[in-house]
């Protein structure tokens, strides 16, 4: 039976198990939208394509499934770019569908034409320009396979109008076979054994676990591995939730705004077991001074991540879950070797964490943003999904929220995209209708996709937005304070709108808290309200994120607060 390309595409998506997609229509997609109507696939219409991409990303990160986003040719497609780049940097599986002008018009500067394959080449794992209707089914199948396997990432399919209107038989291959794409899943057994030898030799071992642990669903294996060996664990931002924050072996996040104990432990260690992490510069600080005495074991599915930034002594290329399972299996046969050496290292580590835990001034009149996050962490159910924007809000969330389950923190780590958190929360909420989903936002970031209030209102999606309003682009302000003599050039948000009224204008409940004693009540009202809520909390404008490793410094060179002598009083300039 002959079908149109539009119908083939919809059928292909169904065969991939797609139940929801996020998209925005346009001229070349009219037929496709018609085929989607009554197709059984839920189509969500955000108010900006960037938000559609972040929503698909939030859906993917919270579920582990491939997210799907659709946009029309030209401006629709280019609006996706920040969302695609965000997903690429954090290895999020997405299939990105874009409309394209008809094949005979491509390259002729046709109306609403953009070379989206060219534009997105550096930020996609792979991409396809479909030139024949009969290729659609195979390409869709391949795209899902590539997006979701190996090191996951976004795959783009560009669909010219005439390919979508053309006719062909639906012909989905039985299996995917791509000559050049065979990700190595199983770790080399010899290398795995070397890891065990390294552990036996080490006196000061530490596990540095990243987002790869969550991507491969290896949290339980990691826990077992760490407990068996009694090795302390630190997480990257994207790794948070991959190891329970309330576990005695947990050190907290490491890196630029990481815990003192985490950075010191890494610095003094003689063995780093890097698992699904990539030695990002926000983690290592100055690489030349990073962990000077450590041997490095690196377990990662992506061979190019190994020895990219620092020298690795024992590389294990493979899926983290499989490798950890194998390590745990091999270890079971032997007596654990901890005992006194391990214990004295753990005692040593514990002293660092007691010396300088994450903290803030608790006796102030103003509301400290850290306090709000601490309270939210206590009041919210353990399986609540937290998304963040970018800036201080993100770092305080990483420091003060206790993530105990994987896929409960969704945050833009690699690209650091302001405007990510709110639409990502939307996507996560669609995927998890019964969970509490909260976007912890800054007053700057929320305005980058604030139009999505219309979307959560339209679908009565119970997403909660918690704005920590400091009337500044706080993180940039902090750097200006520390390194530019407190000259607050273009970081004051004096023109902030009345967020509560904005929410209400869209039909979303708005709450404002200005007094410390009302924080709990505000949070509880937000959590309990059966529908979307925007909660604005007016927080201390001058608060900074500490500790901090200044750019270019060794990760053990941390500063613990601003030199108050040098800082001017903040003034809101009207």
């Amino acid at each position: 039976m002959q079908m149109t390309g539009d119908q083939i595409l919809v059928q292909s998506l169904k065969d991939e198990g797609v139940d929801i997609m996020f998209g925005y229509p346009g001229g070349v997609l009219l037929g496709l939208y018609d085929a989607l109507f009554n197709s059984g696939i839920k189509h969500v219409l955000p108010k900006h394509e960037q938000a559609a991409a972040h929503a698909a990303d939030g859906y993917a990160r919270s579920t582990g499934k491939v997210g799907v986003v659709l946009a029309t040719s030209g401006p629709g497609a280019t609006n996706l770019i920040t969302g695609v780049a965000t997903a690429f940097m954090d290895s999020v599986p997405l299939v990105v569908l874009t409309g394209q002008v008809s094949t005979h018009m491509i390259g002729g500067d046709a109306f609403q034409e953009a070379d989206i394959i060219g534009i997105t080449r550096p930020i996609t794992k792979h991409s396809y320009l479909v030139t024949k209707t009969e290729d659609i089914a195979r390409i869709v199948q391949e795209a899902f396979h590539i997006a979701g396997t190996g090191r996951p990432g976004p795959v783009l399919i560009d669909l010219p109008k005439d390919v979508l209107t053309g006719k062909a038989k639906y012909n989905r291959p039985k299996s995917v076979n791509i000559r050049g794409y065979k990700p190595k899943v199983e770790g080399h057994s010899g290398q795995i054994k070397r890891v065990l030898t390294e552990i036996k030799k080490a006196k000061k071992a530490v596990i540095y676990a990243g987002g790869g642990v969550i991507l491969s669903g290896a949290s339980a294996e990691l826990l077992k591995f760490a407990e068996y060996n009694q090795i302390p664990v630190t997480n990257t931002l994207l790794g948070l939730g991959g190891f329970p924050a309330d576990h005695p072996l947990f050190l907290g996040m490491l890196g630029m705004h990481g815990a003192y104990v985490a950075n010191m432990t890494i610095h003094e260690s003689d063995l780093i077991l890097a698992i699904g992490a990539r030695f990002d510069d926000r983690v290592t600080g100055n690489v030349a001074k990073f962990a000077p005495n450590a041997r490095v074991v690196h377990i990662d599915i992506d061979p190019s991540a190994i020895s990219k930034n620092i020298v690795v002594h024992v590389p294990v290329v493979g899926d983290v879950k499989g490798v950890l399972t194998e390590l745990n299996r091999l270890q079971k046969k032997e007596e654990p070797v901890w005992g006194e050496i391990r214990q004295s290292w753990l005692d040593h580590v514990r002293r660092w964490s007691e010396e300088r835990p994450f903290s803030y001034d608790k006796d102030t009149k103003q509301i400290k943003p850290q306090y709000v996050i601490e309270r939210l962490s206590e009041l919210a159910p353990k399986d609540a999904i937290i998304t963040t924007e970018v800036g201080q809000n993100q770092m305080w969330t990483a420091q003060f929220y206790n993530f105990t389950k994987p896929r409960t923190l969704l945050s833009s780590g690699g690209l650091g995209t302001m405007g990510y958190g709110f639409p990502a929360a939307m996507g996560a909420q669609f995927a998890n209708p019964d969970k509490l989903v909260v976007d912890i936002a800054g007053d700057g970031s929320i305005q980058m996709n604030i139009q999505e209030l219309a979307t959560i209102a339209q679908y009565n999606l119970p997403v909660k937005i918690l704005i920590l309003n400091n009337c500044f682009l706080g993180m940039v302000r902090q750097w200006q304070e520390l390194f530019y003599g407190a000259r607050y050039s273009s970081t004051c948000l004096a023109s902030n709108p009345d967020f509560v009224r904005i929410a209400e204008a869209y039909g979303v409940k708005g709450i404002k808290v200005e007094d410390k004693k009302d924080v709990d009540a505000g949070l509880i009202e937000m959590i309990n309200h059966d529908g979307p809520v925007l909660l604005e909390v007016m927080v201390d404008r001058e608060e900074g994120v500490y500790p901090m490793v200044p750019a270019g410094a060794a990760s053990s060179d941390m500063i613990f607060g601003p030199n108050k002598k040098d800082t001017k009083k903040l003034k809101v300039v009207k």
Binding site: I117, G118, R121, P122, K125, H126, S127, L129, T131, I146, I178, R179, G180, Y181, D302, P303, S304, S307, K308
Partner: protein, 158 residues
Amino acid sequence: MKHTISITVENRFGVLSRVVGLFSGRGFNIDSLSVGETIDPEISRITIVTRGDDRIIEQVTKQLHKLVDVIKVIDLTDLNFVDRELILIKVSAAEKAKAEILRINEIFRGKIVDVSPASYTFEVTGDEEKIEAFLKLVKPFGVKDVSRTGKVAISREM
């Protein structure tokens, strides 16, 4: 150090730009590049000559491997391989120099592919050393134009 990298790829639209984009996007330089079909028309071979220390070259090859349309990547540098380049070179030929130019060409076993009253165009193939030597010898006569293919390479059978 110079490396000659041989990349076997699917003969598909966009593959070359992906490979090249990978170099430019990371600030790696390409000294020369050549590309053409293999005996299997579905597969092309790209030969790239690039420079960098071991770490950079390792990154380059790993990143190339990651591309979905790349089937095989071999750094030929430490292996046994043969390489050739073809150049077309247009040399001014004053009447009294003609004999000398032709003699040099003969030694290098070049072909004359075009003649005009004032110039010869030669086709010369060979490895880098031979090409450079030829260029050096004809330079004094006045080289009007040169067009080079870039290196192609293939590994030797054991």
